[in-house]
């Protein structure tokens, strides 16, 4: 179960490659200036805390009341509160802003929607983050080897980047669809 979930969310149904979660952010790798460590710490903490609280609210309040369809609204409210808390904490301590929404909220939402238990929800969050981490070295290699002359993000880079992602998906899918099925036979 554990290995299945990890393989599924990191490689075969990668949140980055198949759902496009964080694709806008990873496109900027190699172009924008270095992001602070506090940004990543805040991102990870807000994802995990929001996920735990949202799952508890969904399972213990929304499910018994029969209003589980409203879970994205409650997840959003929980996420906003936790995010604001960490943002305030970072601004007070380091005097810097680390605002981020799309990537972290998408991960929280998918982890609540597709999980069967609290542990599973946390595992999905971790796998979604790992899916991005796995792709990062490949993107850096792609940027430095395929198009080192491109200094700013433009149409040409985006087009090549889309093709690169397609190739990566095919590589991951080949392992999932053909080879393992062949071995099972």
């Amino acid at each position: 179960m554990f290995v299945d979930t990890v393989l599924y969310y990191v490689f075969f149904s990668s949140s980055l490659l198949l759902y496009g979660i964080g694709i806008n952010r990873v496109t900027q790798i190699g172009f924008s200036s270095k992001t602070e460590v506090t940004f990543y710490v805040k991102l990870i903490l807000s994802i995990f805390c929001s996920s735990v609280l949202s799952w508890l609210v969904t399972y213990y309040i929304l499910l018994p009341l029969g209003i589980i369809e409203l879970f994205p609204i409650f997840t959003f409210l929980i996420y906003v509160c936790i995010n604001a808390f960490f943002e305030a904490l970072i601004r007070i301590t380091t005097n810097k802003s680390c605002s981020e929404f799309v990537l972290s909220f998408s991960i929280v939402l998918i982890s609540i929607l597709e999980s069967s238990s609290l542990l599973n929800s946390l595992l999905i969050c971790l796998c979604c983050l790992c899916a991005i981490i796995v792709i990062v070295p490949l993107i850096i290699a792609f940027k430095s080897k395929v198009c080192p002359e491109i200094k700013v993000i433009n149409e040409k880079y985006y087009a090549l980047f889309f093709i690169f992602l397609a190739v990566i998906i095919i590589i991951f899918s080949v392992a999932d669809v053909s080879w393992i099925n062949f071995l099972e036979c």
Binding site: Y19, G20, F76, F101, I110, L113, E114, A159, F162, A166
Partner: protein
């Protein structure tokens, strides 16, 4: 719309289209959702401005977009549950996409009437573009056109035999959508270059 900002919109929009299944009916549902989110989001922004709640603009806007998505999803569960079931998490993507957030956050200095007209025109352009994108994938990838039918079911009109499609069925998959997006981006780049050459020639 400046060319550079349009290209960034195009890229963000294509990213939004890629995860969806290659059938026209699912893409059309997403386009309807995106259109509603754009128009209602614009109205919410105007309301926020009128009520002088600008400090809470981002949170209120995102909250409204998520509420609209939940309502839209519930309506579609009643009408076409199969579509909602297949789309799954993807139905929430437009509401939390970079495309929509940037789209709605721009042009705040415009007058109310002008803002509504501008946003609706741009929403219609993206709606048409997205619809054509999914229509192409369905026709070329599966050889069919799928649409909403009677009794909450999806109807499928077969245009040509699936055995004739061959390698083009690749376009119906996610990597195929990425490749198609790359081709569209290259095409946009080429057309823009040609137009620039023509405009430079005419100026001389």
């Amino acid at each position: 719309m400046k060319s550079k900002s349009f290209f960034l919109y195009l890229a963000a929009f294509l990213v939004l289209l890629i995860p969806s299944p290659g059938r026209f009916v699912y893409g059309f549902t997403l386009m309807i959702e995106l259109f509603f989110l754009t128009t209602l989001g614009t109205l919410v922004l105007i309301l926020i401005k009128k009520l002088k709640l600008v400090e809470l603009k981002t949170v209120l806007l995102l909250f409204s977009l998520i509420v609209i998505t939940v309502i839209f999803r519930q309506i579609f569960i009643l009408l076409y549950p199969e579509v909602v079931l297949t789309l799954g998490f993807i139905i929430y993507l437009p509401a939390i996409s970079t495309f929509l957030i940037c789209f709605l956050s721009e042009r705040q200095e415009f007058e109310t009437k002008q803002l509504i007209i501008e946003n609706i025109i741009r929403a219609v352009i993206f709606f048409v573009f997205g619809t054509l994108f999914f229509l192409f994938r369905d026709v070329v990838g599966y050889g069919t056109i799928t649409f909403f039918g009677k009794h909450h079911q999806i109807v499928e009109k077969v245009i040509f035999d699936s055995e004739q499609i061959g390698i083009f069925s690749f376009l119906a998959s996610v990597p195929g959508a990425l490749l198609l997006s790359a081709l569209i981006t290259f095409l946009h780049l080429t057309v823009r270059k040609k137009f620039k050459i023509i405009s430079n020639y005419l100026q001389q």
